[in-house]
């Protein structure tokens, strides 16, 4: 049975909807209980699926592991997968389907900020709970939304500290993807750069299907920055790193990124093209802690895929584990009970990348952050920060005071 599952994944087929195997449930003695339903809405196909594929597998793995160790509150967990095909309209369709037709207890999903913003109003309308397992631009203040990924104050602030204060790259040139993630992230970049006495020479935005960066590279050359900061997203944008290396080269102008690596870009580029890119991350394969190594090993065994695992796969497991912990603390799997448990601020797990604690006031997650540089298609750690809180969102959001808030706050530059 396990082999079938594995072939299923390798076959890169369209979408899947499955419960854990009957064998697994019987082994744990919970097959007869009414299952708790989990929806996972991610892009298995389309331009954005480089971020989702491993997360889909990791989510399934985490659910299987819960089931094989006795389930949740003595009930099995049933996973529904929906392929949102990198198209916001399918996010809208499937989030409705999950909540109304399949009446799931929780939704895990969404990679881009666009997909999250599409799903959030519908989740509120039908009173569900959304776990958004992805790094994003911060500021979403909504009790039905839980962010388990990095936000700018966790990721970009230490990155800017390192780049400007330690490396002395003061003049920055910012490139970002042309949608809300890129726009808000570039504002945070500008803000952090200016606060540290740096200078932001220009900000440029690229639609997700642009793959010719020659004009931008010529503008970068005439602006003469010390460093280029990238918040580029998706398969087509990988071309930037390649064209940057063949036109300018990182020995002339340094390159740092908030998004490099999460789409496994480093495995697609040659060693020379990826070496020396500076990024900040909460998980990478060479973290070299017991938990991280165990996770990488389990994941590779589960999928039969020996390639680099990466941060977004870990997010998938992290999201399910945090949600499961909130269900255990609430003693009830309903969305309202989970939200209540999360708001106490006591939901905390020991995951693959260290301790993750959900902040009850903002529904965002405190975690460890590492500055790393690309090296031979892997990453070398430069510096680590323990337990950074999501400070940017904490400054503007307090769900204890305003439980009805559903705004996304944006920074002022």
């Amino acid at each position: 049975m396990k082999l079938n599952r594995r072939q299923f994944f390798i076959g890169a087929s369209g979408a899947l909807a499955f419960a854990s195997t009957p064998y697994l449930l019987k082994g744990a003695g919970i097959a007869s209980e009414k299952p708790i339903r989990v929806a996972n809405i991610l892009d298995k196909t389309g331009i954005l699926n480089i971020y989702s594929l491993k997360q889909i597998q990791a989510t399934a793995m985490a659910v299987d592991e819960i089931n094989s160790t006795g389930g949740l509150l003595g009930r099995p967990v049933e996973l529904f997968f929906y392929d949102s095909q990198s198209d916001g309209q399918y996010n809208s369709k499937y989030v409705t389907e999950a909540l109304v037709k399949d009446s799931v207890n929780v939704i895990h999903g969404g990679i881009t900020s666009s997909s999250r913003e599409v799903m959030r109003p519908i989740v509120s309308r039908f009173k569900g709970l959304l776990f958004y397992n992805s790094l994003y631009e911060g500021g979403v203040c909504d009790r039905r939304h839980v962010s388990t990924g990095m936000v700018p104050a966790q990721q970009l602030e230490p990155l800017m500290d390192y780049v400007i204060s330690e490396l002395g790259h003061k003049k920055c040139y910012i490139l970002a993807a042309d949608y809300n993630y890129g726009h808000i992230t570039s504002k945070w970049m500008q803000k952090f750069v200016r606060e540290r006495g740096g200078e932001d020479l220009a900000v440029e935005f690229f639609p997700l299907d642009v793959n010719n960066f020659q004009p931008a590279l010529s503008r970068i050359q005439s602006a003469k920055p010390d460093i280029v900061l990238s918040a580029l997203v998706g398969g087509a944008h990988i071309a930037f790193y390649r064209q940057f290396e063949s036109t300018i080269g990182k020995d002339k102008i340094a390159l740092a990124s908030g998004t490099y690596g999460v789409g496994l870009e480093h495995t697609q580029l040659s060693a020379k093209e990826g070496n020396g890119i500076i990024i900040a991350t909460s998980f990478f394969d060479d973290l070299n802690t017991d938990e991280a190594n165990a996770f990488v090993k389990r994941f590779k065994e589960y999928t039969g895929d020996k390639s680099y695992v990466g941060e977004y796969a870990e997010y998938g497991e992290r999201g399910i584990k945090i949600w499961a912990e909130s269900v255990r603390q609430a003693g009830n799997a309903s969305p309202e009970a989970c939200i209540e448990a999360l708001s106490k601020g006591t939901v905390s797990i020991n995951g693959a990348g260290g301790v993750y604690t959900v902040d009850g006031k903002t529904n965002h997650t405190t975690m460890d952050i590492h500055i790393v540089t690309g090296h031979n298609q892997r990453f070398n750690v430069v510096k680590s920060f323990k337990q950074r809180p999501p400070r940017d969102t904490q400054m503007v959001c307090d769900l204890h005071q305003n439980p009805d808030d559903s705004t996304q706050y944006e920074p002022e530059v």
Binding site: N49, D209, I238, E245, I248, K252, L264, Q268
Partner: protein, 286 residues
């Protein structure tokens, strides 16, 4: 001096992309009158073939040639299976090739997975004063010029060119002169596909290969060929130089998106003034 060289390079680079992506379509749509919406997918196939060859250890330049030939063969197979039923039914070819385009995207995603496959950019860069220019970009400009020259020689000075042009102009008359028109159509379609596959293989070191790669270029290449008008070679050259200049200059001044939008608008206005395209009224030449 450097800004001028920079502009020249950007224009030339943009020109070469327009030329590469539209030459194949100029043969298939301009000469054969087949609206091939799967053209982008042939380009994508070229990119994949080139990537596979390079990854299995074949030299990049050889891989490009192999990829072009392989796409040509694919084109011939597809012509036999699908296109040959649709000659003269121009709207049906459009719909059928649209289906083909979806099918190929789906098939490639199933086989290779959706992620970007890529090969390292060769050749590095060259410094002109403080300006750095990728040598591969210069190679692309040179290639597109050489390709144009070769095509000119092929159409004008070979027997194959003569037969193809005569069949496309009047297939009835050509067949009474003893030309096997089925064969000519098949080979011409394959040749057009080969040119497109070549474009994909040339582009792969800078953009990578992914299943939806064709979508990026399909609108651009159609606009170029339609604006170019009835003469496949001269039309493509003139439209590509016009759009290449606009795109190169505007993309360098503002952003590449605005460059593309301006190109599309210029094309619509151009077609309002010259409904048959730039070379629409010319009857001689290629």
């Amino acid at each position: 001096m450097e800004p001028i060289i920079n502009y020249l390079f950007q224009i030339g680079f943009s020109f070469s992309i327009f030329i590469l992506i539209s030459l194949g379509l100029a043969v298939i749509f301009g000469m054969m009158r087949i609206i091939n919406l799967a053209q982008g997918e042939f380009l994508m196939l070229g990119a994949y073939f080139c990537t596979i060859c390079t990854q299995s250890g074949i030299n990049l330049w050889l891989s490009i040639i192999i990829a072009a030939l392989a796409v040509g063969i694919c084109g011939i197979i597809i012509e036999r299976l699908l296109i040959q039923w649709l000659y003269g039914r121009i709207l049906d070819t459009l719909l059928a090739t649209w289906g083909l385009s979806l099918l190929l995207v789906g098939a490639i995603t199933t086989i290779f997975g959706p992620q970007t496959e890529s090969i390292a950019s060769p050749l590095g860069n060259v410094a002109l004063g403080e300006l750095l220019i990728p040598i591969y970009g210069i190679f692309m400009i040179a290639t597109s010029l050489v390709l144009l020259l070769l095509l000119y020689l092929l159409w004008r000075h070979t027997r194959f060119g003569l037969i193809v042009r005569s069949t496309m102009q009047n297939s009835g008359a050509a067949s009474t002169l003893g030309i096997n028109q089925n064969l000519v159509y098949m080979l011409t379609f394959g040749f057009g596909c080969m040119l497109t596959g070549f474009a994909g293989a040339i582009l792969v070191p800078i953009v990578g290969a992914y299943p939806t790669l064709g979508l990026v270029y399909i609108a651009k290449s159609f606009v170029t060929v339609i604006s170019g008008g009835s003469l496949p070679l001269l039309g493509t050259i003139s439209a590509s130089s016009l759009f290449g200049t606009i795109d190169g200059v505007i993309a360098t001044i503002s952003t590449s998106v605005i460059g593309e939008i301006v190109v599309l608008f210029v094309a619509i206005i151009l077609l309002r003034m010259l409904p048959l395209g730039i070379t629409g009224r010319m009857t001689k030449g290629v």
